[in-house]
């Protein structure tokens, strides 16, 4: 009847520890940004078809955010969804807690190594197409915690980040500008052509 919780939880902890160490070893390099952002020059030459336009319009208009918030920046994101800044106007008030339903992961806050496998798992569980916004200094480079023993220096060690928003924490206006940049980026993507 009784699960031997202490013993089994120790096993879970050990397993988790191994995962963390593994991820820590494998993520010494920064991940490059997704390619279509880099070679903008090439993209400009592709004629975007009507189907692309429609798809991209749908995708950029309904960005559902995954509630994977870690630290301080969360409150600036919530401020953005509160009536004063009101992200709902752009159809983004839908916060999905299940990664399967989400399109966008806003990494609001410091990422620690203990948290990193979880965030990576959430990102892996999200259905394509998906985007990542690194919000705040901690999300970009670790911020003032960069030289700490337990902090991941930037989300780009484990996730391919699309848009970076500086600030500690960024103001809601800055976040909105970042989201606007992401929407522009989505517009440029072509789905009908494979390169």
């Amino acid at each position: 009847m009784e699960i031997k919780s202490q013993q089994s939880s120790m096993n879970i902890d050990l397993h988790e520890g191994r995962l963390i160490e593994e991820l820590k070893r494998s993520s010494c390099e920064m991940m490059p940004e997704p390619s279509e952002w880099l070679d903008e020059e090439i993209k400009r030459n592709i004629i975007v078809s009507t189907v692309d336009k429609l798809l991209n319009w749908g995708r950029k208009t309904s960005l559902w955010t995954e509630t994977a918030f870690t630290a301080c920046c969360t409150f600036e994101f919530i401020s953005l969804s509160s009536p004063r800044f009101d992200i709902a106007r752009f159809g983004m008030e839908v916060l999905r807690s299940s990664p399967r339903h989400a399109d966008l992961i806003i990494t609001a806050g410091t990422l620690t190594w203990k948290m990193a496998p979880q965030i990576k798992r959430i990102y892996d569980q999200m259905a394509e197409p998906k985007w990542v916004i690194a919000m705040g200094s901690c999300g970009i480079s670790g911020g003032i915690f960069a030289d700490s023993y337990s902090v991941v220096p930037g989300y780009n060690r484990i996730l391919p980040v699309d848009v970076y928003i500086p600030g500690c924490p960024p103001r809601p206006e800055a976040l909105m500008a970042g989201i606007e940049r992401l929407r522009k980026k989505i517009e440029k993507k072509s789905f009908t052509k494979v390169d």
Partner: protein, 149 residues
Amino acid sequence: MTTTMKGKQVFDMLKGELASAIVEVQDECLVVKPAKLTEVAGFIKHTQGLEFDYLSSATGIDYPDYFEVVYLFYSLEKNHRFTLRIRCADKADPVAPSLTCLWMGADLQEREIYDLLGIKFSGHPLLKRIFMWEGFEGHPLRKDFKNGF
């Protein structure tokens, strides 16, 4: 206004064997032998006139020669505070008694000290790492731990 109990005052109330458990009487605190901590703490918790029923905080400090654990007690009734210290001279394998049998509030704080400083608390119900993951090498708050990724 919370008054701070003087170390001398409390020392005078300790009798016999307990008095011999005291290593040093400082102005506002008593330094106790690690082995006798639970007895002294139990004494100041239950004795009339002291009644330190609230364990506010427990802090571990890594000094060059020894580890020190500082306990801060309050008495909600009498509104005074007092500090107890223990010193673990064995820097390789520091062990201290756990206060969880007297105060539940010591639970997480002792786990924190164990995780970050590596002081083992004998008698703690679930002594394992709290902030760092299992398999993390070293104890971050020790002075010989090198910070950084």
